[in-house]
Amino acid sequence: MEILIYGLINSVNLALIALGFALVYGISRLPNFAHGALYVVSGFITWTFLRRLELNYLLSIVLALVIVGIVGALIYRFVLIRVRGMAISEIIASYAIGLAILEGFRWCGFKGLTYTLPVFVPGSVLIFGIPVDYHRMLVVGIGAAIVAFLWFFTHYTRIGLALRGMAQDERAALMLGIDSDLMAVVAMAFGSALAGLAAVLLLPLGNIVVEAGYNILVLAISVCIVGGLGSWMGAVLAAFLIGFAQILTVVYLGAHYQMVVALLAIILTLIVRPSGLFGRQKELEERV
């Protein structure tokens, strides 16, 4: 029974982490390797608002998300836009920016283990005899809400449809008068805000540490690859797949194989089906 509950929680966590990355790649074909950095940075920004300026918790969260969204947009607008199309430069540029932000924050004093965010609702409750704390349940609820909102947003709003158009085929979207660069900036801002949201939800469980950025990036990539680069719905489903796989390995195989599972998932998926489980079939396009 506990596998079910904590498997669900772990999967929602993975989905939240990977959603931002999947969205950005899905829409503008940009592997955003600064995802981990944006995640950690939003944690630190929220912390500064909360501790240094004593703003109320919700306000500091919203402000942090806005700032991270703007940072994401600026990164795209002034840096990544010039390297669009060259796969290697995109990866390196976004990774280097992420590195610069992370190490920059570490240099100006965000070191050590004393930076934490308070939990939304303290305390826990027993469900079928399994103690689950309120905060984690809240995270699952908010996660579900985000997925629903994203689905609604991409299906029924103008910007959402434009984003989906660009995801399908950038040139066709251009022909229909959708300004692909503007859309890419919106996508990047949205993706970074999602990374920030995931951070604000998950960081209160532990403390904000710069190293977390690297792990988060690896997890996000593993979920997006298994789900099929490009389809964020695929990423959500893959998050459940890997989430439960990790919990099962912890229970049956032994906790120390947990990280190995995520990495193995990436390598196997890429070899067997490069476009992932739900990604568009690119096989034909590559062959002839």
Partner: protein
């Protein structure tokens, strides 16, 4: 025009040079101490503060008397980044070499912090014949075992901080037994990090406690570095009615573990043989009291306020005055003692020659911050004991109402071990 400019430059340069040796007070060439520390981490900057405090105190009292000449200490700290994931150990070793070759360090202190870097540095130190006193980080018994095995190769390596074997045998197990007797608990659950010293320590504790009649639940749960979810392990502990959870992890995610333990109200006492998150004074404020009742081991006395020796509280107060915070990690008191031990050894040896200092260090016998400091002549490991008058004393404290209360060993205990209310 060009040549004239050159002439002026040369004249100026020589003027500055001859002025330099004029100054009398700190005239003598300083003794350079190289400190390869990972300054972005609590173990790094804490050790640096300890060493800096000691050196400032020594220099204030006139420095070190080397064969009649008073010479001051001078610290050269380099960031080795060896605690950061994704950074090759060769980076740390390059830093050690930079200290030795470029900064002309006479002695190495603090040492690379991560165990694998510390072990790797041993070969380098023996190659350059530099005396090194390890004060933090490296706990693995392999370190002094290698010194004992190849004495003439590794004789330059000393370690002034406690090591895992004594910590387990001499402190953790007796403390567990004491808690067991006091509250008749005997069901132990072990959660360790996937690192060599944690695996070794966890394994030994499991074996010994089984012999002592305790029931150790299942195999030790091994968590890879960076895992962020411990729910399965804690639930297993709850289901199997574990009474004490032994935690051996020196990664930041331990705060996640403690918060989950508190939220789930797991009826078991968390006993941190190594639990990096819970060592710092800032831990209490960070977790809003969720770390209550957690026991943590800081390897040597002095890292938490206690009166092991008259010098302990003097050190704690001096540290608080200088750095505005209590000693944080388990490296601060040892790092503070190292310069003093070195000063004493140099003065006895009468010179900076490595072999002479090694011989002097082997005969060190000094009452320090955490008890009597003597080195085992064969393995250059500080001799530990439970009584401050006999040897280096460890410290296990418990978080009680926001304060770190030393509860073990009895000789320096300040308070009693308490159980969380939901365990009664």
């Amino acid at each position: 025009m060009k040549t004239r400019g050159m002439a002026v430059a040369v004249f100026l340069l020589s003027a500055i040079l001859c002025l330099l040796p004029g100054g009398k007070a700190l005239a003598e060439k300083p003794i350079v101490i190289g400190c390869p520390l990972s300054t972005a981490f609590v173990y790094g900057w804490d050790a640096e503060r300890g060493i800096r405090l000691a050196v400032e105190e020594i220099n204030a009292k006139g420095g070190v008397n080397v064969g009649g000449v008073q010479r001051p200490f001078k610290i050269a700290v380099i960031d080795t980044r060896d605690l950061e994931p994704g950074v090759p150990v060769s980076e740390a070793l390059l830093a050690v070499e930079k200290l030795i070759l470029e900064k002309k360090a006479d002695f190495i202190m603090g040492g690379p912090i991560r165990s694998e870097a510390g072990l790797a540095a041993m070969d380098l130190l023996s190659k350059y014949k530099k005396v090194s006193i390890l004060t933090t980080g490296v706990l693995t018994p392999k370190y002094h075992a290698r010194v004992a095995k190849a004495y003439d190769k590794y004789k330059y390596c000393f370690r002034i901080t406690g090591e895992a074997k004594w910590m387990v045998g001499g402190e953790i197990i007796p403390c567990l037994l004491e808690i067991g007797k006091k509250y008749n608990l005997n069901r132990l659950f072990i959660m360790i990090q996937d690192v060599a010293h944690a695996r070794a320590g966890g394994g030994i504790i499991a074996k010994v406690m089984k012999k002592k009649g305790w029931t150790v639940i299942g195999q030790p749960e091994i968590y890879p570095t960076g895992s962020t979810d411990f729910s399965m392990g804690l639930l297993k502990a709850r289901r199997e009615k574990a009474q004490i959870i032994l935690i051996w992890m020196d990664m930041p995610e331990t705060s996640i573990l403690l918060k989950q333990w508190y939220d789930m109200k797991i009826p078991a006492l968390p006993f941190g043989s190594i639990i990096s998150a819970a060592e710092q004074p800032g831990f209490w404020k960070a977790t809003k009291g969720k770390g209550e009742y957690c026991l943590a081991n800081v390897v040597n006395a002095g890292n938490a306020p206690s009166n092991a020796t008259p010098w302990t509280m003097k050190f704690v107060n001096a540290y608080k005055k200088r750095w505005k915070i209590e000693p944080e990690a388990y490296g601060s008191s040892t790092s503070y003692m190292a310069p003093y031990v070195l000063k004493d050894a140099i003065e006895r040896a009468g010179s900076l020659d490595s072999d002479a200092v090694v011989a002097a260090l082997e005969k060190t016998d000094m009452m320090g911050v955490y008890g009597r400091i003597r080195f085992d002549p064969k393995s250059h490991q500080v001799i530990p004991s439970l009584d401050p008058k006999e040897g280096a004393v460890g410290t296990i404290f418990q978080w009680q109402a926001g304060k770190r209360v030393v509860v073990f060993p009895k000789s320096i205990a300040v308070g009693e071990i308490k159980l969380p209310p939901w365990m009664k």
